[in-house]
C-alpha cells in the first residue's frame, strides 16, 4: 500500500480562475487504476461533505477517449500508449507527489476541475470527416477490392479515439494529428477518395476556425497518443492539402460540403 500527495487542478466553472489544491491519497493499492485511486479520494471528500474532483471518464478500458488528464505534465501520464484509465498505480511509488491537471489548449476551455470542452473536435468531423453515403443502396461489400496494406494503413489511422491528448501535448495546441488521422484513414481507401479534396479543405478550415495551432514538428503528439498514431499521417495530410491546388493555382473542392 502506498500513500501519495496529489496536487489537483480545481476550478469551479468556466469563469473561475482555478488553482492547485493538495490532497492525500492514502492506502493506494498498486493494482488500482489511476481513476480508481481518484475514486477513493473522491469517496473520502464526499464523506467529509466536500465536492469531489470531477473528471471525464466512461469505458475505463482505453477505447472511448473520454478520460483526459495531464499527469505530471504528460497527457495520459507516464506510460506510453496508455490512456489515464488504463494507467495503474504500480507505476508510482510510496510518497510520490503527483500533479493532475486538465488538458490545456485555447480550443479546449476548462468547464470544471479536470473536465474540458472538446466539442471543437466534433465540429472538425462534422465539417468533412465522413464519406457522403446515405443509408441503403450501397454496392456489395466485396465489389471493390482494397489492397491489404492500404486497409491496414487506414486502420492504423482510424484507431484514433479522439481524446485530444495530441492537442494537450503540443506547444502550439495543434490538432493536426487528430485531423490527419481522419484524413489519412479516408485517403487510404477508395471510398474516401471521391471527396478527398473537399474533405481535407473543409476539415483544415474547421480546425483553424476552432483556434488550434499549426504543427511545427515537435512530435509530442505522437509520443502521448494512446493509440500511438504516427506523425506520418500529418505529412500525408499536408500532401492531401497540397494536391487540392492545381497547376493554375485553383483550389479543387473549395467550398466544403
Amino acid at each position: 500500500m502506498m500513500n501519495l500527495k496529489l496536487k489537483v487542478w480545481r476550478q469551479k466553472n468556466a469563469q473561475d480562475k482555478g488553482k492547485i489544491v493538495d490532497y492525500n491519497a492514502k492506502n493506494v493499492s498498486p493494482d488500482m487504476s489511476f481513476l480508481e485511486m481518484l475514486d477513493i479520494v473522491n469517496e473520502e471528500l464526499i464523506l467529509k461533505g466536500q465536492e469531489p474532483i470531477v473528471f471525464d471518464h466512461d469505458c475505463r478500458e482505453g477505447i472511448c477517449g473520454m478520460c483526459s488528464q495531464t499527469i505530471n505534465g504528460i497527457p495520459h501520464g507516464p506510460e506510453r500508449g496508455t490512456t489515464v484509465c488504463q494507467l495503474h498505480m504500480r507505476h508510482f511509488k510510496d510518497g510520490d507527489t503527483i500533479f493532475i491537471e486538465p488538458w490545456r489548449a485555447r480550443a479546449f476551455p476548462v468547464m470544471k476541475d479536470l473536465i474540458v470542452d472538446r466539442s471543437a473536435l466534433d465540429k472538425i468531423i462534422q465539417a468533412g470527416g465522413f464519406v457522403s453515403v446515405d443509408t441503403g443502396g450501397c454496392p456489395d461489400a466485396n465489389s471493390l477490392p482494397i489492397a491489404k496494406d492500404d486497409a491496414e494503413d487506414a486502420m492504423d489511422a482510424a484507431a484514433c479515439i479522439g481524446c485530444g491528448a495530441c492537442v494537450a501535448a503540443c506547444k502550439n495546441a495543434s490538432a493536426m494529428l487528430f485531423v490527419s488521422a481522419k484524413v489519412g484513414h479516408f485517403a487510404k481507401l477508395p471510398q474516401g477518395k471521391i471527396e478527398r479534396e473537399r474533405r481535407v479543405q473543409a476539415m483544415v478550415k474547421a480546425m483553424d476556425d476552432a483556434g488550434f495551432g499549426n504543427c511545427t514538428n515537435y512530435y509530442e503528439c505522437e509520443a502521448v497518443c494512446p493509440k500511438e498514431i504516427s506523425v506520418r499521417f500529418i505529412a500525408l495530410m499536408n500532401r492531401e492539402y497540397l494536391r487540392t491546388i492545381n497547376h493554375l493555382g485553383r483550389k479543387k473542392g473549395a467550398g466544403g460540403f
Binding site: 477517449g65 482494397i146 486502420m155
Partner: protein
C-alpha cells in the same frame, strides 16, 4: 390493460419483411420535414437511426450523456459483427444465421424478428464498407472472416480487436455529417430523466443538461430509445461506468413493458476483481480459449505459485467435464464451471475468485512468437492491468456481467406497447432470446438503426399524424416538475454513506442471489434485501454539490436510485422463470448430470412486466413463443 400484440406479419417467414415493407405506409418526401423524432443514445443503434432518419428528411434531435456521440459504449466491442454473406463459401445462408441465432438464444427469441435480422445482415456490411470502415482483408483485397462461438461457419467480419469502435465511428460519421448539414440537433452531456406520455402516446422526454443543471423537455412525433443495457445494476460489469437503466426504467414507469429482465449474459473470460476499489471489469476476448488451457489447483488452499504446481496436482476441469468441447465450451457452461470450482475453495489469486488460463503448453508447442502474433494486444492489455506477464505466468480470469438480452418489450416494428415509443439495440429485448451469440450485438444495433426503424417509424407517422402536443402541455410541465423534485430530493441527501458504496452493496446482493446460479431461496433472500438497501439509500446516503453545475455525484445518485428499483424487477422475473435457459442456471431445473434443463412446456414465452408501483409486484404478461421454422432441441455440449 396493456395488450401484447407482436404484430408479426402473416405469411411464410422468408416473405414477412418484404410483405410488411409493402404494406407499410409511406410519407411523401415533401411531408417528411413535418415529422420529428427524438433519439436518445448515440451508440450503434442510436447513431445509425438518427443519421438514417435525418437523411430521409425527418427532423431529428439526438441526445447522449457523454461529451461526444462518438464515445457510446458500442465502441468497446472487440470481436466482430456477424453477417450471412457466405463469402468464405462454407455453407452459410440467411437461413443458417437465423437458425444459429434462435438456437444460440436457447429458443427464447421471436422467430420473425431473428429472421429479419439475418436478412438485413449482409446490407449492414455493404453500408459500413461504403462508409469507409476498415474491415480486415486478405491479400486479394477482399474481406476476411473469422469464426465465433455457436456457429460452424466463418461469418464474422472484424477490424482488428476494435470492431465496435470502427462500426461506431462509421455511424458517428454519418451522424456528424447530418449534424453538419443542420438536419440533426445534437445534445451531448444530456441525461434523459423521464418519458412524457400524453393520452397514452409517447410525446417527448424530460432531460437534465449535465453542464448547467437545467431541466427541460422536448416534444416530438416519436421517441426512440437506444440507451443500451443495464448490466451495471450488478455494480461490476464490463459496461462503461455511465451505462444505466434510467431511460428504459423511466419509460417502464410510464407504462412501457419490460421484457425478460432476468436475461443477462455473464462472460467467462474477464480479468478478476482485484479488490474493493474495483470500479469495473475488463473483458479478455473469448478467442484466447482457442490456445489457453483453463485449470485450478486440485487441492483447496493451495499456496504455491502457478508454475510450481506439478501437472498431477492441476485440475483442467473443463477438459475433464466436457471432453469434446474442452476449453471451448460455451460461455454459460464455462462461467458456471468457474464459479463452481471457486466456490469449492480452489480459486486462485488473492481473492480466491479466479481460475488460470494457461498458455504454457501452447507456447511450448507453437513458440512464443506465434502466440504473440495471435494475441499480442490482449496479452499487453492484460499485463497493463494486472502487472503480470502472461507469457510467463498463467492469466487469471473470472466471469463477469457483460450484456443484457432483456429490455423494453417491442413489437415487430420495434415499437413498445406505448404508441410512439420505439426501442432499439441492447435496450430492447427482441432478438437474442436467453443468450446472445458473440458478434451479434453489433449486427442487431445496426440492423435496428439503419434498416428497420426508417421503415417502421414512417408507417407510424402516417397512421398517427403530426402531433399538436407541445412542451406547454400539462403533462410536460408535470413531468418537468417531478424531475426537478427528484433532483432536489437527491441533493438533500446528507447521510453517512456514499452512493457508490450503496451501489456496491446492491451489486453484491444481486450477484449472490441472481447471478450465474439461481434458486428460489436465494432469489427470495435478494427480494427481501433490495428494499432495505433502497431505504438505506434514501435515508443514509450523501450527495454533495448543487444542481446548477456539473455534478457527477448527483448523476450517479440518480442512476443508482433507478437501479435500486429496477433490481427488484429483475429478481421477480428470475423467480418466476423456474427453468434453466441460456446462461441462467436455475438450480431447481437441471438434468441428472447437473446440466441446464429448459422447460418448453411451461416457459416458452416472453415475460413482459407492467409497473404497479415502487416495491410492488409488477403484473406479468406473456407473449407466447411459437416455433414454426426451427425445431426445439436440447443444446448438448459434451
Amino acid at each position: 390493460m396493456a395488450t401484447l400484440d407482436s404484430k408479426v406479419p402473416s405469411g411464410p417467414i422468408t416473405e414477412k419483411w418484404d410483405k410488411h415493407r409493402f404494406d407499410m405506409k409511406l410519407v411523401n418526401p415533401a411531408n417528411k420535414r413535418k415529422y420529428s423524432a427524438i433519439v436518445v443514445g448515440s451508440g450503434l443503434a442510436g447513431a445509425s437511426a438518427a443519421a438514417s432518419l435525418a437523411e430521409l428528411g425527418y427532423q431529428v434531435s439526438c441526445f447522449c450523456y457523454q461529451d461526444s456521440p462518438r464515445r457510446a459504449h458500442s465502441i468497446a466491442a472487440q470481436g466482430g459483427i456477424n453477417a450471412a454473406k457466405n463469402y468464405p463459401n462454407d455453407g452459410d445462408s440467411i437461413w443458417r444465421l437465423f437458425y444459429d441465432t434462435v438456437k444460440g438464444g436457447d429458443f427464447r427469441a421471436r422467430e420473425a424478428n431473428v429472421y429479419r435480422l439475418a436478412q438485413v445482415s449482409g446490407e449492414i456490411i455493404d453500408q459500413c464498407v461504403a462508409q469507409g470502415v476498415p474491415f480486415a482483408r486478405d491479400y486479394g483485397g477482399l474481406l476476411d472472416n473469422r469464426s465465433f462461438g455457436g456457429a460452424l461457419v466463418s461469418r464474422t467480419f472484424y477490424a482488428r480487436g476494435q470492431t465496435g469502435q470502427q462500426l461506431l465511428l462509421g455511424a458517428y460519421s454519418a451522424l456528424a455529417r447530418q449534424i453538419g448539414l443542420g438536419t440533426i440537433k445534437m445534445f451531448p452531456r444530456t441525461e434523459m430523466l423521464d418519458l412524457v406520455v400524453v393520452d397514452g402516446r409517447a410525446r417527448g422526454i424530460v432531460i437534465r443538461d449535465m453542464v448547467t443543471g437545467k431541466i427541460q423537455s422536448f416534444a416530438a412525433d416519436a421517441v426512440i430509445l437506444a440507451t443500451g443495457g443495464y448490466s451495471n445494476v450488478f455494480f461490476l460489469s464490463t459496461n462503461a461506468i455511465g451505462c444505466n437503466v434510467t431511460a428504459t426504467y423511466r419509460a417502464y414507469k410510464r407504462g412501457a413493458m419490460f421484457a425478460n429482465p432476468c436475461y443477462t449474459q455473464i462472460h467467462p473470460t474477464c480479468i478478476p476483481v482485484s479488490g474493493e476499489h474495483q470500479s469495473k471489469l475488463t473483458l479478455m476476448s473469448e478467442s484466447l480459449r482457442n490456445d489457453g488451457r483453463i485449470w485450478v489447483p486440485l487441492n483447496k488452499g493451495e499456496k504455491r505459485a502457478a508454475n510450481d504446481i506439478p501437472e498431477a496436482e492441476r485440475d483442467y476441469y473443463l477438459e475433464r467435464k466436457y471432453p469434446s468441447y474442452g476449453n471451448l465450451a460455451p460461455r454459460d457452461i464455462s462461467s458456471r464451471a468457474a464459479k463452481q470450482v471457486c466456490d469449492e475453495g480452489r480459486g486462485v489469486g488473492d481473492t480466491g475468485k479466479g481460475v488460470y488460463l494457461d498458455f504454457r503448453d501452447a507456447i511450448n508447442r507453437l513458440g512464443e512468437n506465434v502466440i504473440r502474433e495471435r494475441y499480442g494486444n490482449l496479452f499487453d492489455m492484460y499485463e497493463r492491468i494486472t502487472g503480470e506477464n502472461p507469457y510467463q505466468v498463467p492469466m487469471r480470469i473470472y466471469p463477469a456481467l457483460h450484456y443484457s438480452m432483456g429490455g423494453l418489450w417491442v413489437d415487430y416494428n420495434l415499437m413498445s406497447n406505448v404508441p410512439g415509443l420505439f426501442v432499439l439495440g441492447e435496450a430492447n429485448f427482441s432478438d437474442h432470446g436467453a443468450n446472445r451469440l458473440g458478434a451479434s450485438a453489433l449486427m442487431q444495433g445496426l440492423a435496428d438503426g439503419y434498416f428497420i426503424i426508417p421503415y417502421t417509424v414512417g408507417d407510424f407517422y402516417v397512421r398517427s399524424g403530426v402531433s399538436k402536443v407541445t412542451t406547454d402541455h400539462d403533462e410536460f410541465k408535470k413531468a418537468e416538475a417531478e424531475a426537478t423534485d427528484h433532483m432536489k430530493k437527491l441533493l438533500a441527501l446528507r447521510g453517512k454513506r456514499t452512493v457508490v458504496d450503496i451501489h456496491r452493496q446492491l451489486g453484491k446482493v444481486l450477484w449472490e442471489g441472481c447471478g450465474m446460479g439461481r434458486n428460489e431461496a436465494g432469489l427470495k433472500k435478494a427480494l427481501a434485501e433490495i428494499p432495505i438497501i433502497r431505504e438505506e439509500f434514501w435515508k443514509n446516503s450523501i450527495v454533495t454539490g448543487g444542481n446548477e453545475e456539473i455534478n457527477q455525484a448527483l448523476e450517479r445518485a440518480g442512476r443508482v436510485a433507478d437501479f435500486l428499483e429496477f433490481a427488484e424487477l429483475l429478481v421477480y422475473d428470475a423467480l418466476m422463470r423456474r427453468e434453466s435457459c441460456g446462461g441462467h442456471f436455475r438450480e431447481e431445473s437441471q438434468t441428472k448430470e447437473g446440466e441446464a434443463l429448459r422447460n418448453d412446456a411451461e416457459y416458452s414465452y416472453v415475460s413482459a412486466w407492467e409497473y404497479t408501483g415502487v416495491g410492488k409486484i409488477p403484473t406479468l404478461y406473456k407473449e407466447p413463443l411459437t416455433f414454426e421454422n426451427v425445431m426445439l432441441a436440447e443444446r448438448s455440449y459434451k
